[in-house]
């Protein structure tokens, strides 16, 4: 059924369709409307779940550790400082191989309060072990929630979906909300091999000596990498049932491109329009939409970007002292290629600063015309 939905409501719908059993969420702008919506649908019975109204994000994630270990599907949503407060538990969840799904509204990280779009929050969780998938539209967010549980429960890894504050969280779009029966077909109930079980008492998360810990960490790494094989399968099945196509990484008009712009989140839509416009003008530009950031789909990136002369990576995040993190990782992925492209790292739109088609065109032109050695971040739009 097609509905007009804000991004946050699409998330709540996603959780409902997945029949999550335990929800534990703590409010933070711009995620708050998810909490509100989930409260309503839990109260009305539309969603038959336990909603634990915790006293912090740290506890939100910790309750899900309990719930998920006890073998039920668990969900939470957060943003920015909330995500950072969870940090310790995020590591725990991945190490414990708990298939929790969380949506994070990308918001700038304080000090100096800022509630607007910026990916530094989720980027700074990249080593927790959580899978990260960056979304561009409300539809994608909703669909991704459903696919995330399929993926997470198969490989026993937690999945974080992110999308931009306000640009998506609070923007109303037309969203096709699938029938719950179809979702049931796609996503069977969660039935883990091991859970907290009186009849099969096991201990979860015990102390691991150096004799085991290294191998344990390796299994976490292996599990994460399994996503690269399994997620395309999930996407295919999803397409067969729901008719919408997703992938680990998506290409747009990259044929014969001289320059490919790599983006995430809502900036992707701006780039897409700009690419269309520039292609019409005969310019050889393309787009690579980076969805899955953890695990890193190195092979996909290489196959898309390996034959192009120049790559622009736009980062709406900043690792001070380095620059944008996506650019850094893309460079690292391509470095061992013999004909590696020149890479132009661009930082733009921090803290919700608007990034317009004109900005994108400017950035592309800069890259095309520049003979600068690649690799030095360009702070686009910085008031100098």
């Amino acid at each position: 059924m097609r509905q007009l939905l804000k991004g946050n409501y699409a998330v709540a719908e996603g959780a409902r369709l997945c029949r999550v059993k335990v929800v534990s969420v703590y409010p933070i702008t711009p995620q708050t409307t998810i909490v509100e919506r989930l409260s309503e649908i839990c109260a009305s019975g539309e969603l038959d779940a336990k909603f634990i109204k915790v006293e912090s994000e740290h506890s939100a994630m910790a309750t899900l550790v309990g719930a998920s270990s006890a073998g039920v599907r668990a969900f939470t949503a957060t943003s920015s400082n909330g995500l950072l407060l969870m940090h310790e538990v995020l590591h725990w969840v991945a190490g414990a191989r708990l298939p929790i799904v969380m949506t994070n509204v990308n918001r700038a990280v304080s000090g100096g309060w800022n509630i607007w779009a910026d990916q530094t929050d989720s980027i700074s969780q990249r080593d927790t072990g959580w899978l990260q998938i960056y979304c561009e539209s409300s539809q994608e967010v909703l669909d991704s929630v459903i696919m995330a549980y399929r993926l997470a429960e198969k490989i026993l890894m937690p999945v974080m979906l992110t999308y931009d504050a306000f640009f998506l969280s609070h923007t109303t779009e037309v969203v096709d909300v699938p029938d719950i029966e179809l979702v049931d077909e796609f996503l069977p109930p969660y039935q883990p091999e091991f859970k907290l079980d009186i009849d099969n008492p096991r201990m979860f998360g015990g102390l691991m000596s150096p004799d085991y810990f290294y191998e344990h960490r390796y299994t976490v790494h292996k599990a994460s990498q399994e996503a690269l094989e399994y997620y395309p399968e999930v996407c295919r099945e999803f397409r067969d049932i729901f008719g919408r196509d997703y992938d680990i990484t998506e290409e747009y008009r990259t044929d014969g491109a001289e320059v490919i712009v790599v983006t995430t989140g809502t900036i992707t839509s701006v780039v897409r329009i700009t690419v269309d416009k520039m292609r019409e003008a005969g310019r050889k530009v393309g787009l690579m939409k980076l969805r899955m950031f953890r695990p890193v789909p190195v092979d996909r990136w290489r196959s898309i970007l390996g034959n192009v002369a120049k790559v622009v990576v736009i980062d709406r995040n900043l690792s001070p002292g380095l620059g944008g993190v996506f650019a850094d990782e893309v460079q690292a992925a391509l470095y061992s290629l013999e004909n590696r492209p020149s890479i132009y790292p661009v930082v733009a739109g921090l803290g919700g600063r608007d990034v317009t088609p004109a900005d994108i065109e400017g950035i592309i032109n800069h890259a095309l015309s520049s003979d600068d050695p690649a690799g030095v971040p360009l702070f686009w739009g910085l008031k100098e």
Partner: protein, 301 residues
Amino acid sequence: MERTTQRMIEIPRDVMTGEELWQPGVLSCQGCGGSLAMKLALKGLGRRTVIVLPACCMSIIVGAYPYSTSQVPLLHVPFETAAAGASGVRAALDIRGEEDVVVMAWAGDGGTFDIGLQALSGAAERNEDILYVCYDNEAYMNTGIQRSGATPAGAWTTTTPDKAVKEESKKDIERIMLSHDIPYMATASVAYPADIYAKFKKIRSIKGTKFIHILSPCPPGWQIDSADSIKVSRMATQSNVFPIYEVENGKYTINVYPEKEVTVKEYMKTQGRFRYITDDAVNAAQEWTDRKWEKLKGMLK
């Protein structure tokens, strides 16, 4: 006032000799009160129990991967998340239709009085149907004896060294918990095992948040001989430093009126950790203890 001494034969024989849910081979120090408290608690609770365990000595005692001494399911969680973790397990078990399974968060004093207090307060305020147990060895023992909010005034720890032993009194966790209006709050001590057994048996039939605070001696941390750990704990109660009582829906009952009375000084004398205390501080501790005891007795009316 009814006087109670301890006649330890009150734990039924078949329970004591029956199924051991806490098996030997545990990694506790000699004479550890924590391991003993857990063994006794499980005697009262029985098999249909899930343990949620944050960082503390017990997370070591229970055994290391891939082994576990616990014969009931056990979930390790981060240091400050015992109550939250337990809330989550509770929710999941309710969904699974296993409402009768007791979810027991088992945390140290550090995990309770200090770092875990927020999550605990949250869970208690929501009146989660969980049992929260604080086994209190009065310092951060796992990390090597650092002061906690539960460390008594006058005690040496590695962060309150000989020239600056702890000045502040122990935090009144019972009052904090009672201010949440939880249905059941109790203190207990490994020196009174039958009382522990009875309390853990009782909580099975109480819905909502149950809090049990168990004094649990730590020979290395208290600097006592391992053989004396029960004796010293008993003196804590005999001196009223650690009274044994319970509050059920607001109604106070003192469970142990020790027949023998001991001064705070005598109690402190038994432990190396108090060897730097000044006479003034001993007197202050005695006053503090008397005041609290009088107040407690006042609550009976």
